[in-house]
Amino acid sequence: MSFEHKIEVKNLSTWFGKKKILKNISCYFEDNSVTAIMGPSGCGKSTFLRSLNRLNDTIGSFRMEGEILVEGEDIYSIDADVYELRKKVGMIFQRPNPFPMSVRENITYGPRLHGKKDDDELERLVEDSLKRAALWDEVKDSLDEPAPNLSGGQQQRLCIARALSIDPPVLLMDEPVSALDPLSAGKIEELIMKLKEEITVILVTHNVQQAFRVSDQAAFLYLGELVEFDKTRRIAEAPRDERTEAFITGRIG
């Protein structure tokens, strides 16, 4: 199947109850790139991200209009398979949320759900995923330890490994380092740069410096509106909108 963009968002508006959160957003995301979505708290960044893997569906009052195409398929159409979608679009959360199981079980959880039973294959997946998340060397001797015993930074990389275990072509990251210390945050930033060689990364952040460091293109959301969407370098050098300029120079946010 051919498609123009990895993910394309067309005229997306969302509501929680009567409150309109996102207002008519259109943008697209390319393969092998990192897109940063910036904006002050409460501007709808997380809602936007969670629309891309339909995680907002779990909230009863959620309603949306518009279209989101992932690999050319409308994910909100009536015959879209939400479980297949979430296999393709992984997600990392703001706070590390490893399952209360061993490190190994955290990684094998996803593959098992999707029918992988062979022990050797699972074992290989554990090693591969942990290596891709740059965590293997630190935990290879403690795979059977409970995951919540790891440090915060290790937990977050474990969550990344867990998401990678089912090999998603797209990874959504919702402020993945805001709960971590600077050293752990740095490691995860490096990891994001490495991951984009293989997959599409969409990163929500309220940290402008981080957005500029790691992303290829950037979007600035303000009060539910997509104010600016362009190459990161262009936005960093010459923001077109004064609200963007105010945000990246630290006057709002």
Binding site: L55, R86, K87, F93, N97, F99, P100, G110, A163
Partner: protein, 292 residues
Amino acid sequence: MTKKTRSSNAAEGHDTDFLSRSVSSAKTIPQTLARYLRKQTRSRRTFSDFLFKIVLAVAVVLIAAPFFMVILQVAAVGIPEVFGVGPGQGLEFFGTFPGPGLLGGIRNAIAGTILLMVVAASVGIPLSVLGAVYITEYARPGRVTSAVEFTADVLAGIPSIVFGAFGFAFIVDFLHLGMGLIAGGFTLAFMMIPTVLRTTQEALKQVPMTLREASLALGATKWATTWNVTIRAAFPGIMTGVLLAVGRVMGETAPLIFTAGNTLGVPTSITGGGSWVASLPYTIWAYITDPR
């Protein structure tokens, strides 16, 4: 201050002499006590503080005394029976069925309590855990969920004899199942439900939303998420509720009087007269009310 201290020492002088034969240390007990009392009565504030401390200490003693009396009483009467070697004592007490008069043991009651617990737990626990999962994980919060919660809270406060009367009226009489293992076990199961349901609910609510989301985001269905992640994370809390409930109904006599019947042996059938079953609390009750 110095003056006071000196005079206090002088005042306690004869106390020291009084006990000097038995107490060889520099400060005798009455001396220390007197110093302590003087310190506590130095001003109104320290005195009221001291008084309150006394009141609290008295409360603790009053609470603890009956507890130790119960333990002592049980130990005094029980130890010879449990560790003795005479007829009907020691292993024989636990291992044999009751004989004529006061002979024999309580094997019927031990076996009966275990059987009743197995029936009650295998009915009550799955029902209440599944119910709690439904109302916390699946149902939209609303009138139905709060009605269920309210009912459970009311049931938890109902006296156990009422459960016994209900068990008799509904299971024994209306359903024609008769007294015995099934009627007794189900009545105890009813009693377990409110506790297990509410504690399971609380345990499920303690599981962070973000754990469920992590599982859903991996493409898990709601049921897979609930079973593999939510219930697993809430398991210690659920177990607390289960143990609490089992412990509670294990000691109940009242619900069994009209429902379980009694026997000197073990039940020989699932329904009918052969299913009459003894239990430990019932046996205690029977022994106490027995004129012998």
